[in-house]
């Protein structure tokens, strides 16, 4: 009996320790997590910002970091090496887990920490060549002495913070997921560049478009998927001269290639929410007589945020703005002489090319009449608690083959046996652009800086203290024949191979235009019938661009307040253009089954603004969505791949071709008119919104309809911020909708002493218990922006910062 008792007790003790030290399904290892000394309890919950003196091996001289009341570091160093070292150090201090996790996600290494649930995601990231592309960025970055030094110093700074980690300073998420950060390298920095390349240029609709064309024919495609809409107000105004030699533009093939795998898997879908606004006003239109610049890049909104706000000062630079977490320098910002902002150009920089294999071994493929050998890149996916997975990825001269016919697509997104020609795989040195932009003093410097920024292509808007304004659609834009890349191409035919890139001086651009402003909202960079090069068949719908241009045109004596108001504009031109026709459809219509009188009153009185309390916005968006579904869902067999026309093109078609055969619901014996569809959709929308928000339309709100959340990167519900009282919609200038929108709002006035305002949703700290984790969301949702503290020296306005951290050289490297 005593023996049994001893065995049971010892076994119980060991079993308890074992059970507490390992995760169970989604429940983390509670023993490690609840450890009162090293676990979750050690997470700092106080309000203190770093202060005092810290000795760091690797620094050459002292660095002063002053933190302002929002936890923004203002870094003063005597050399650039120390500057970027310190930036890496303070950024890692605030965002280490985010940086580590995002770089793992880019590389397809999440399974190392999350286990086998993320194997397919990892495989996909490797198949599309994320690390392959990052390795090429590293080569370029390290071959330039300037950027090599910046990247090395930044990585050393991050690693200096990692070396000092204590249980208390280790981010909560590492404890939750049960892993430790790995040393930061230049490859990690390059992977962060790949993340943004994928986010902004990693989508394609060509496979789906080809399928739509197969079903509906060319006339339908021209009507709904053409690229020359008269209502578009391009970034470069119509009539801009383009003195370009068109002889380098290739001729198209005689017929359009039809892919063999058209009815296969679903392809990539463009993220309809990616988009941004930027503009600059010439001094002739501002109250101060000096240029004003504004920018709000629309990206996924997460906690921690993608941006990290900081000021970097050394003898040759004093720049303020936001950095992409994990990337040195300031990506969007200003210095004393210039300001710049970015929006995504959105040109087609990813083509799928069908590969003709010689045989089932897929070792050779056809190109230009020859059989070429495919390269194999072996990827080893390490899986926590499981054996490694080896994956051989085939590479052609076009790029990687992300999916083979026998395989199931990850998230059903890639066409099988197609190679990706993606500009994100090309070597380039965006870090050099950032370095030069940060130090630019005038227009010439800015233009010089843009020459090394290749991907993702960006509309770079700028303003200078000298009074210049301008914009350039900048990056590697392939030279294509008209329509090239709209549908999947023939990978064996050189006609589908890109013929180089549009020369820098021939990229769409305009400087100091007569109208006194420049702007972009992801619309066509230039009018397709005027600009000689083919860029893409579609860009963002026109509404945001037109709205911005209308308001900028009307502005005189503009002030920063005018800019704030425009950034906050939630007026929908889309609603203005189609809602009157929709209301006409239900005018005088007597519906017996449902009492819709209050709903009709609500929508008729709505002012097209997507403010949080506007119930009309909730009904309109649902009504439009139901109309779109009613029109398109019957056009194709169930499960068929098809593309839905862009919003503004559909509006024009409804207004101009109201008896189009595509309006009829082909599943019913009678022929439905547009009014019939409007009414069917209205009842569905009325029921849906009533069901979600109650029967009293006076209590409906837009904020309840659209969600308005900003979630933690891991979507941990208790850390998410729900139901933010902010307006906005996809087609509004203020393009906030659930989880996506203005990720950084910035306004800069290029006066003798530069003034600037900015805000992003979230906070500087990645620590969920820190008061700086989500402290800026309320401000971001309001009309106002923070005035940004641009310091000239470590001692400037000492009362304006709340703590100072002194970094001193010393110790062992």
């Amino acid at each position: 009996m005593p023996i049994i008792r001893s065995v049971v007790l010892v076994a119980l003790l060991i079993a308890s320790l074992w059970a507490l030290s390992r995760p169970w399904g989604s429940i983390p290892a509670l023993g490690k997590l609840l450890d009162p000394i090293n676990g979750v309890w050690s997470t700092p919950a106080g309000t203190d910002l770093p202060q005092g003196t810290i000795t760091l091996a690797g620094l050459q001289g002292p660095v002063t970091v002053r933190y302002d009341e929002r936890g923004v570091p203002h870094i003063f160093a005597d050399t650039n090496d120390d500057l970027y070292f310190a930036q890496g150090y303070v950024m890692a201090r605030d965002r280490l887990w985010q940086m580590d996790f995002a770089s793992r996600a880019a590389a397809g290494r999440l399974s190392e920490v999350l286990g086998d649930r993320s194997v397919e995601y990892d495989r996909y990231q490797r198949r599309i060549g994320m690390t392959y592309g990052a390795e090429r960025i590293v080569l370029e970055m390290e071959s330039d002495p300037t950027t090599a030094a910046v990247a090395n110093a930044f990585a050393a700074g991050v690693n200096a913070w990692i070396a000092q980690l204590t249980p208390a300073s280790t981010p909560f998420e590492f404890k939750l997921l049960g892993y430790s950060p790995e040393p930061w390298t230049n490859l990690h920095t390059a992977l962060m560049f790949m993340n943004i390349r994928k986010d902004l240029s990693g989508s394609s609709s060509e496979h789906r478009l080809a399928s739509t064309r197969l079903a509906k024919g060319d006339a339908f495609m021209d009507l709904f998927f053409g690229n020359n809409q008269s209502w578009v107000d391009p970034i470069m105004p119509r009539g801009t001269p383009w003195p370009i030699d068109g002889s380098i533009i290739p001729q198209p093939p005689d017929s359009v290639f039809v892919s063999r795998s058209l009815l296969g898997e679903l392809p990539f879908q463009p993220n309809p929410y990616n988009g941004s606004n930027n503009w600059a006003l010439h001094g002739s239109k501002t109250a101060t007589g000096r240029p004003l610049l504004a920018n709000d890049p629309h990206l996924n909104l997460t906690l921690p945020a993608i941006w990290y706000e900081n000021q970097l000062v050394s003898p040759d630079v004093n720049v303020y703005g936001v950095s992409l977490a994990g990337i040195p320098g300031v990506t969007i910002g200003f210095n004393r002489d210039v300001a710049w902002g970015l929006t995504n150009t959105g040109s087609d920089v990813m083509d799928f090319l069908e590969i003709t294999w010689k045989d089932s071994t897929r070792s050779e493929y056809r190109y230009d009449g020859q059989w070429l050998k495919a390269d194999v890149r072996t990827e080893v996916i390490k899986v926590s608690g499981k054996p490694d997975i080896v994956d051989n990825v085939l590479y052609t001269i076009h790029g990687p083959v992300a999916l083979q016919h026998s395989e199931r697509a990850f998230n059903t997104m890639t066409p099988p046996d197609h190679a990706m020609r993606w500009v994100a795989h090309d070597a380039s040195n965006e870090l050099l652009t950032i370095f030069r932009l940060n130090r630019a003093k005038n227009k010439a410097d800015l233009m010089e800086a843009t020459t090394t920024f290749r991907a993702p292509a960006q509309n770079v808007v700028y303003a200078t203290r000298e009074g210049d304004i301008g914009i350039i659609s900048n990056g590697s834009l392939p030279i294509k024949w008209k329509g090239q890349g709209k549908y999947p191409g023939d990978g064996s035919d050189p006609k589908y191979t890109w013929q180089g890139f549009i020369p820098q001086e021939q990229l769409p651009q305009i400087h100091n235009p007569a109208r006194g402003f420049v702007s972009s909202a992801n619309q066509h960079p230039a009018a397709p019938d005027e600009y000689p090069f083919y860029l893409d068949y579609a860009f963002a719908p026109h509404e945001r661009g037109v709205r911005i241009n209308n308001r900028l045109t009307a502005m005189t004596q503009a002030t920063p307040d005018s800019m704030f108001a425009l950034l906050k504009d939630s007026y929908s031109l889309h609603a203005e253009s189609i809602l009157p026709r929709m209301l006409q459809g239900i005018d005088g219509w007597d519906v017996d089954s449902v009492d819709t009188r209050s709903t009709r009153t609500l929508i008729a009185a709505w002012d097209y603004r997507h403010l949080p309390n506007r119930g009309g916005a909730a009904l309109f968006q649902r009504w439009w969505s139901e109309m779109s579904n009613a029109i398109w869902s019957d056009e194709y067999p169930e499960g068929y791949l098809y593309s839905v026309p862009q919003r503004d093109i559909m509006v024009q078609a409804l207004l101009n071709v109201p008896d189009g055969e595509w309006i009829d619901d082909k599943r019913t014996p009678q022929r439905e008119s547009l009014d019939d569809i409007i009414r069917i959709a209205f009842i569905r929308a009325h029921k849906a919104v009533s069901s979600a928000q109650g029967d009293d339309p006076s209590k409906w709100s837009w904020v309840n309809a659209q969600g308005a959340n900003v979630n933690h990167l891991l979507n941990l519900a208790p850390l998410n911020v729900r139901r933010i009282e902010a307006g906005g919609c996809a087609e509004c200038v203020n393009a906030f909708r659930n989880g996506n929108g203005p990720s950084w709002k910035m306004v800069v006035s290029l006066e003798d002493d530069v003034k600037a305002w900015g805000v992003y949703p979230g906070g500087q700290s990645g620590n969920p218990l820190s008061p700086y984790f989500k402290n800026t969301i309320e401000k971001w949702a309001s009309e106002r922006l923070y005035e940004l503290l641009y310091l000239m020296s470590p001692d400037d306005r000492s009362e304006s910062t709340t703590s100072t951290l002194q970094l001193m050289p010393g110790g062992n490297k």
Binding site: L9, V10, L12, S16, I27, L30, L34, I37, W41, T43
Partner: protein
Amino acid sequence: MIWFLITTIGLVSAYFFSWWAIPVVAFVVCLVRGKTWGEVIGQSTIAGIIITSLVLASTALSYGFDRYDPLAQVIMLPSGLVMALITVLIGGILAGLGGAASYSLRTLSQKRRR
């Protein structure tokens, strides 16, 4: 006095290693000094509770346990206070188990010797 020994040594050990040191210390102390089942289990458990309570008091109490509510909710506990109670409970149970396991071995070896 077993509880005092475990508390003192356990507290220091936990800071140097992790709280896994608490049941180990309880195991060792009870192996050497344990006299009765009641004393071993009771005092080990109390020592574990005291150690975790003291550590929580020094780290989290000043902020208030409610500051930890979001992290508690991430692991599906209702609040920081409940997470604190569970932490203390685990500390007590592990120490109690450590003491009981070692005392059972001690009584077993004593019987064998007799």
